[in-house]
């Protein structure tokens, strides 16, 4: 309303009329209840900025963010598993120190700066040097057709940035988890039974070490979402995170509230998923239940 109030052409009556039309004359919690009732019915409101239906807008962009997030999730999983296991089995070796150092670096790295550095190296400098380069922004090239190959090419840098911090965190976690498990008695028993190291690793140690990691990964999905917000901004990826930011700058409350609702639903869903997957992976929980 502040925007309208500063307009000298509107009289006080007009402003009151507008307030009534927007429902702003009612107290805040009543407005919230109105909004909630509409949301449940499927009407998420119209954006103040583009006057489009919020639900449609979110639907358009959701898929694009999902591509980034899912890919990044899978990449993170694979890399941190590989590095974590390697680091735990080769404890105190040079490789272990390197992995630990890289984890520390990744954990302290501002993701947007890392993205900018990657762009500078792989998009700007490579292009100047005449090497095959990666694109700096967007999902598809501006000219030319949107093909899967182009999508993949455009995805490389954002996914790398998105995965780095997660990989750093989970590698450390998996390393300490594996180390804990490897020192357990049942592993010592298996070793004294004469099982090969590899079998011990995969059948006993790995499965036990991975249980807390999976739940952690699933619970962190909403935070992956907020990292995606920053990454989408760096790489001009037209996803939901970017939309949140674009509309935040314009104080477009319907869109913001819609996205926050979605994120909250995601949080609840991920918690549920984490519980279910924990029961699924750990047979002990299944039997107890």
């Amino acid at each position: 309303m502040a925007v309208y109030i500063s307009n000298p052409n509107l009289t006080a009556e007009d402003i009151m009329r507008l307030e009534k039309a927007f429902g702003l004359d009612k107290p805040v919690y009543v407005q919230y209840l109105y909004w909630l009732a509409k949301v449940v019915r499927g009407d998420w409101g119209q954006s103040f900025l583009t006057h489009q239906d919020v639900l449609t807008m979110i639907g358009e962009r959701l898929g694009r963010t999902a591509i980034l997030m899912v890919t990044s999730f899978v990449v993170t999983l694979i890399i941190s598993l590989a590095l974590g296991i390697y680091s735990a089995t080769h404890q105190y070796s040079i490789g272990d120190y390197i992995v630990t150092a890289v984890s520390f670096f990744g954990y302290s790295m501002p993701s947007f700066w890392f993205g900018l550095m990657l762009i500078i190296v792989f998009a700007v400098k490579f292009k100047e040097a005449g090497l095959p380069y990666l694109p700096a922004a967007g999902m598809y090239p501006i000219r030319g057709e949107p093909s899967l190959l182009q999508l993949l090419r455009h995805m490389v840098l954002p996914v790398t940035v998105l995965s780095l911090i997660s990989v750093a965190k989970y590698t450390r976690y998996l390393r300490s988890s594996m180390l804990e498990v490897i020192n357990e008695d049942y592993v010592r028993t298996a070793r004294s039974k004469g099982l090969s190291e590899r079998l011990i690793l995969w059948r006993h140690a790995f499965k036990n070490a991975i249980i807390p990691l999976i739940t952690l990964l699933v619970l962190d999905i909403p935070f992956l979402f907020s990292c995606a917000l920053i990454t989408e901004q760096v790489f001009a990826w037209p996803g939901m995170g970017r939309m949140y930011w674009e509309h935040a700058v314009w104080v477009d409350y319907p869109v913001l509230m819609g996205i926050i609702l979605l994120v909250s639903a995601l949080v609840v869903f991920c918690n549920l998923l984490a519980d279910v997957s924990y029961a699924f992976i750990d047979p002990r929980i299944r039997i107890e239940a």
Binding site: F104, W113, F114, L116, V124, S226, I230, L256
Partner: protein, 299 residues
Amino acid sequence: MTQNVKSPAANEIEYRKPAGPWQLAGRRFLRHRIGVASAIVLLFIVGLIALGPAFFISEDDAFRPDPLVLNTPPSADHWFGTDEVGRDIFARIIYGGRISLSVGLLAMLVAITVGIFFGSVSGYFGGAVDSVIMRMTDVMLSIPGLFLIIALSVFLGPSMQTIVLAIGFLNWMTVARVVRALFLSLKEQDFVVAARCLGIQDVRIMWGHILPNAMAPVVVAATLTVGSAILIETAVSYLGLGIQPPTPSWGNMLKNAQDLIWTAPWVAIFPGMMIFFTTLCINFMGDALRDALDPRMQL
């Protein structure tokens, strides 16, 4: 003759105080080479940032646009180059550092204040209070903070106060948990029982007796919180919803730099490098502190 034998009088015996727990921890910290190195680098950075404006950088350098030197690469005149309006980047980094570091420290203070309050109340009183506070902590831990911070800064207007409060209120949970765990164990100790027998009020016991013994993990958590607060603040400023230009912050310097990466990449390299190194040093130092203050580690 007994006259010639002088026995030392009581007040001449050298009395050496045994090292207290903090001195012991300090010694353990000094053995951690990376931690010490990081602390020194951090001290250097902070010193540069705090004392620079007083001695060799003027506010002029950081704020005055100079159209004659737009986008120049690093040179003898301008150590880090100039930005798109001609301001010296090195000077802006120093001034931006003041802002970013202050936000980090202030947000940390807010976070540990709230965290200590909730953690101590929760740990000391237990029961229903504990459950309620822990549920609240869990809820807040599961919310991805960036969305809330952006929404808050949109709602309240982007400024330093908003950012400090927002980051503080979204980062107190780890501190609270740590404090609560310690309170739960310290609560059963004899000195608390004695204090209660003496009739000292609960609040005084909590904050005057138990809390001073619980400060060690709080110090570690505080250090790491500063690091993450700096990262969050720079991220939000990068998005344009934190510290507003022309006030420099390492984050919003990167925001302007993004358009320039094709022509003037140094504008993007240096501020981010500062963020990275500062956070790295803080994290290394925090890790070393954690090792030093952990009573179970044998070093």
